[in-house]
Structures are given as structure tokens and as C-alpha cells.
């Protein structure tokens, strides 16, 4: 237990050092990318709660990410520049949409669940395109002002300030997510993922666990969506659609599902790749498509797992060699 706590502290210190290093050393236009990585990292992490821990492959997770972005954009444009108001609106709307969609989607599991969540996401796109009086239709909502913080000297229009602000907000949500998956409830979720029949036999309400995880992960995605609309200054239907949902799933798979931190790494990988290819290729979507294929064929078990398993393999072969030489000697 002591060693684990030490490791956690070391991880925290490393994360803090990384944020400070990035924040102090990168030029403003790179910091925008860094903020985006944190935002999509939180989005991917929220999907991991559902996909990695609960075993429910949602391909419509951007529905909650995107509706939260719309909700906070409406608040920021028409009502108040308070961040907490925008955040509350986004998270609550995302959770409410999930509470409705979950009632229907959770009647299924596996690939059917994936298909139905995908269809709900596309329904969300149709609504966003159609209800243009609220959502601005295909153009979306532009002119989302950055929030005013009641802290002197903070100006979120400066990329550096916005990056630190994003880092703090994302950190709060990450702590919540870690607390959730480490709690007894989180342990039960893993049980539901591995063996729902046994969990039901033990007296756990499998459906309720899935439903709560579904809403909680949507609320986390909502937090990311709120940051997205403030970051870009606009929202359009793409934030809800299949490409965004799929990108979140790609980040989880690339980073490693069921690890929480793997998806953050996956988000960094994908966004840096997109940024680099966008600079010198018109056909970056084609390259992104190829990235999906390569991820699936090469890094299907996740980067986070690739390193430890390589380490274990090394350790095993070394231990094996030592044992063999020992046996020879005796």
C-alpha cells in the first residue's frame, strides 16, 4: 500500500512537472494544441469509464461531449460569462441526454449496443442540423466568449492562461474519474464487465450499475465538451457526430482501455499526428483512416500495455535465463 501511494505521488509530481514544462516552454500556437489534447484526453478518458471499465462499447459518446459543448455555448453567448454556469449547464444537459438514451441503449449489449449508440449520435446530428434557431444549423454557434474568472490577472484569451485553466479543470475531472473507478462501485463495474451473470447471482443489480456508469461517463464527457466550446469559440454538429465518437474510441484503443491514463496518451498521439499531417497534407483524413487501420493491426492492446508487457517479457526471459544457469550449475 505504501509503495502504491508513493507511486501515485510520483505520478502526480510527474504530471505537474509535465504541465509546467509544457506551459512554460511551448509557444502560444503549440499551447492551443496542448489544451486540445487535454480536452480530448478527458473525452477519451470518459469513454474509457464505459468501454474499458464497464465493457460497454459506445460509438455515440460524442453525443454527450457535443451537447454539453452546445449547452455551454448557449449559456456563454446569451446569458453569462461565468464558467461555473457554463460548466453546470453542459454537464447537466449531457447527463440528462444520457439518462434518456441509456434507458433504451442499455436494453442491449455488445455490438448491438454499439450500433444503437451510433444511431443515437447520428440522431443528435440530425437534431443539431435541424433546430437551427437554437443550434445554428450546419454552421453551428460561433462567437463563444471565454469565461471571466474571478481571479485577478487571469486572461483566458492568452493561450498560456487557458492551458493552465484547462489543466486544472481536467485534473479535477480526472480525480473524480479515478475516485469512481477505485471505489467499491468501480470494482463492481469491473465485475459487471467480466461476468454479468455472476454479478447478478451475487445480488448486484447489473442494469443499475451500467446505467449509472453510462450517465457518469456522459457527465465526464460533458465536462470535456464545455472546455471544447470555450477553447474553439464555436461548436458545430461535427462535435456530436460519428467522426468525433470514433476518434474518442480510437484514442481509448490506441492508449489502452481500462487504464484511464492510456486514453490521455492516445489523445496526445492522435492529435499530434493530425496536427503534423494537416500541416503538409491535404489528405489528412485519408492518413487518419490509415491510422485507424494501423492501430487495429499493430497496437490493438494499447500503448500503455505495450510498454509493461514488453518489460515483463524482458524480465521473464532474464529470469528464465537466470533459472536455467542456476539449474545447470546445480
Amino acid at each position: 500500500v505504501n509503495r502504491q501511494r508513493l507511486l501515485a505521488l510520483a505520478g502526480l509530481a510527474a504530471a505537474l512537472a509535465l504541465v509546467l514544462l509544457v506551459g512554460e516552454s511551448l509557444p502560444p500556437f503549440r499551447l492551443r494544441l496542448a489544451s486540445e489534447i487535454l480536452i480530448f484526453g478527458l473525452f477519451a478518458l470518459s469513454l474509457d469509464v464505459l468501454l474499458g471499465y464497464t465493457g460497454l462499447p459506445s460509438l455515440g459518446h460524442a453525443l454527450y461531449f457535443g451537447t454539453a459543448a452546445y449547452a455551454s455555448a448557449v449559456v456563454a453567448r446569451d446569458h453569462t460569462d461565468s464558467f461555473l454556469a457554463g460548466l453546470a449547464a453542459g454537464v447537466i444537459v449531457a447527463a440528462l441526454v444520457a439518462a434518456v438514451a441509456g434507458l433504451i441503449a442499455l436494453r442491449t449489449a455488445g455490438v448491438f449496443f454499439l450500433m444503437i449508440t451510433l444511431a443515437f449520435g447520428q440522431l443528435g446530428v440530425a437534431v443539431a442540423l435541424r433546430m437551427s434557431s437554437v443550434t445554428g444549423g450546419a454552421d453551428g454557434l460561433a462567437g463563444v466568449l471565454k469565461p471571466e474568472l474571478p481571479i485577478g490577472g487571469v486572461d483566458l484569451y492568452q493561450p498560456r492562461h487557458f492551458f493552465y485553466f484547462t489543466a486544472v479543470v481536467v485534473a479535477v475531472f480526472v480525480v473524480l474519474a479515478v475516485w469512481l473507478v477505485r471505489s467499491p462501485f468501480g470494482a463492481a463495474l469491473k465485475g459487471v464487465r467480466e461476468n454479468p451473470e455472476r454479478m447478478a447471482a451475487l445480488g448486484y443489480n447489473v442494469w443499475a450499475h451500467r446505467y449509472i456508469a453510462f450517465i457518469a461517463s456522459a457527465a465526464l464527457a460533458g465536462g470535456a465538451g464545455v472546455l471544447l466550446s470555450y477553447h474553439h469559440g464555436f461548436v458545430n454538429p461535427e462535435a456530436i457526430g460519428l467522426t468525433t465518437s470514433a476518434e474518442g474510441m480510437l484514442m481509448v484503443i490506441l492508449g489502452g482501455g481500462g487504464t484511464l491514463f492510456g486514453p490521455l496518451l492516445g489523445a496526445a498521439g492522435i492529435l499530434v499526428f493530425e496536427d503534423v499531417t494537416r500541416d503538409f497534407a491535404d489528405r489528412w483524413r485519408l492518413l487518419l483512416g490509415v491510422t485507424y487501420v494501423l492501430t487495429v493491426l499493430v497496437a490493438r492492446r494499447g500503448l500503455v500495455r505495450a510498454v509493461p508487457s514488453a518489460w515483463r517479457w524482458l524480465a521473464r526471459t532474464r529470469a528464465g535465463r537466470r533459472e536455467a544457469s542456476w539449474r545447470e550449475a546445480s
Binding site: 442491449t108 455490438v111 450500433m115 444503437i116 440530425a126 474510441m249 480510437l250 485519408l286 483512416g289 487501420v293
Partner: protein, 284 residues
């Protein structure tokens, strides 16, 4: 608009939806692959049809070329990419999304971002009078083509050995293999056929739905709604789902024009709430 025209509209759209969705449904039923590239096969077919018709080769040639080309692309996808990861459903889904992105982008590269109009055969470009209102003759032809394809696929599935194997594969693929049948070849055949029908639908549906870069995503959504409503894995399920969605859409558009964009999703949500496995499920 009179009642007959509305009914014909619904049936024509429903049969077009059948052409779009049947491949997705049967492919899923047989090999448990949710092939999201399916929409891209439609788009590819529509664009190829546009070019072949533009080259003066005619509508029928265009449909056949699109069918053959998408079948080959599908066969390559299945054998080279999907077969090695056949035990990992999530990986398969991600891979098919990657191909959807890639094929959509290649299509935009080749044909540009502007929507293209796939011209119907000149003999069918007019309209006929039905009960005092004009009805596009191409839509009547679409009903005819749809019925022919339904009959052909039904015959293939219910009256031939290949069809029997496919149906057996939907129910229990291990048993099919135990009886010494080559599942690998069956999978390849079904996947290529599903892709080919989607490409064919691209040309046949082109005069109605058009060819444009995002078609891959829109058509995929239509196909998903149909298979969710009809149930996965059978020709009959796809047909029932497609006609149901097509008719609800036709009447919904007339009754609530403001809700046209969602009338498509209404039957899906009702069916999901009442019967989550779809109206006619092949394998639950």
C-alpha cells in the same frame, strides 16, 4: 399530394433502403462484423456510376461496373484486413471506420467536394400521371428494380445451397464448419456480395439521393436505422425494416414537414423501446 403517390413514394424509398441495408444486415448475421465501411461502398458506387454514365456507357453498364468494383474492394477488405482480426469485434469496427474515412476522402480527392448528379436513363427521366398528380417515372422503375432484387436475393437465400449455408452460418457457424464446409470462402463471398449490392445501390439510388462526399456517413445512418428496426441477419428482416422506415418517412414528411429530418428515427426508437432485437431478428 394524393394517397397513391404517397404510398408509391414510401415503397420506392423503402425498396431503395432495402438495397442499401440488406448487405449490412446479412454480413453482420453471418460473420458478426458490423461493417461501417458499408456507407462508403454506396458512395463509391454512386461516384463510379456518375463517371461511367458521364463517359456515355449507359446506366446499366454503370450499375454493373459499380457492383463489380465495390465487390472487389469488399473482398480485399474482408480477406486482407478483417480476417486476421475476426475474433475481436471492437477492432473490426474501428478498422471499418478507418476505411470509411479513407474511402470517403479518396472519393473527395478524385471527384471533388461538389455534389454530383447521377442521371437516370433518359427514357425514365420524365414523369407519369397518377390520379391527377405527376410521379417521377424513375421512382416507378426503382420499385421494379427493388422488387427484382428482393426476389433474386430471396431465391438465392432460400432456394440455393449457398443460401442454405449462409442461413446455417447465421444460426451456428461452428456447425457449418464441422460439416466440412469452407467458412473462409463463404465469408468472403457474403462480404463481397454485400459490398457489391451497396455499390449497385449507389448507382440505382444515385438519381434520388445523389453522390456527395458525406454520402458514406448519411447512407450508413440510413442502413443502421433499417437494420435496427428490421433486426439483423436476414433478408426478410431488412425488407420489413426498410419498407417500414420508408413508409413512415413518406407519411411523416407529409404530415409533419418540420420534422422531416427525424421522421426516419421515430420508428427506430419505437421499435427499440418495444422490441430491442428488431422486428425479425436472425440471431438474438
Amino acid at each position: 399530394m394524393n394517397a397513391v403517390v404517397q404510398l408509391l413514394n414510401g415503397v420506392a424509398f423503402g425498396l431503395l433502403l432495402f438495397l442499401i441495408a440488406s448487405g449490412l444486415s446479412v454480413t453482420f448475421g453471418v460473420m458478426r462484423v458490423l461493417n461501417l465501411t458499408h456507407g462508403a461502398f454506396y458512395a463509391l458506387g454512386a461516384y463510379v456510376g456518375y463517371s461511367v454514365i458521364g463517359g456515355g456507357w449507359g446506366f446499366v453498364t454503370a450499375a454493373l461496373v459499380a457492383l463489380a468494383l465495390t465487390a472487389v474492394v469488399g473482398a480485399v477488405e474482408q480477406r486482407v484486413l478483417l480476417w486476421p482480426i475476426r475474433h475481436d469485434e471492437l477492432a473490426q469496427v474501428l478498422l471499418t471506420i478507418g476505411l470509411l474515412l479513407a474511402i470517403t476522402d479518396i472519393a473527395e480527392w478524385v471527384w471533388g467536394g461538389e455534389p454530383k448528379r447521377v442521371a437516370p436513363p433518359s427514357a425514365l427521366s420524365g414523369s407519369v400521371g397518377i390520379g391527377g398528380s405527376a410521379f417521377p417515372s424513375y421512382r416507378l422503375a426503382l420499385i421494379g428494380i427493388g422488387v427484382l432484387v428482393v426476389l433474386a436475393l430471396y431465391h438465392l437465400m432460400e432456394r440455393t445451397k449457398v443460401g442454405a449455408l449462409v442461413r446455417a452460418g447465421v444460426d451456428d457457424d461452428e456447425l457449418v464448419q464441422l460439416h466440412g464446409f469452407n467458412l473462409r470462402r463463404l465469408f468472403l463471398l457474403v462480404f463481397a456480395a454485400g459490398a457489391g449490392v451497396a455499390g449497385f445501390a449507389g448507382v440505382v439510388g444515385g438519381p434520388v439521393l445523389g453522390a456527395y462526399p458525406e454520402a458514406g456517413y448519411d447512407i450508413l445512418t440510413l442502413a443502421l436505422v433499417v437494420v435496427v428496426v428490421g433486426g439483423l441477419g436476414s433478408i426478410q428482416g431488412a425488407l420489413v425494416g426498410a419498407l417500414f422506415v420508408g413508409l413512415v418517412d413518406s407519411y411523416g414528411r407529409a404530415a409533419f414537414p418540420d420534422l422531416a429530418a427525424f421522421s426516419m428515427f421515430v420508428p427506430m426508437i419505437i421499435v427499440l423501446a418495444v422490441r430491442p432485437q428488431g422486428l425479425l431478428a436472425g440471431r438474438a
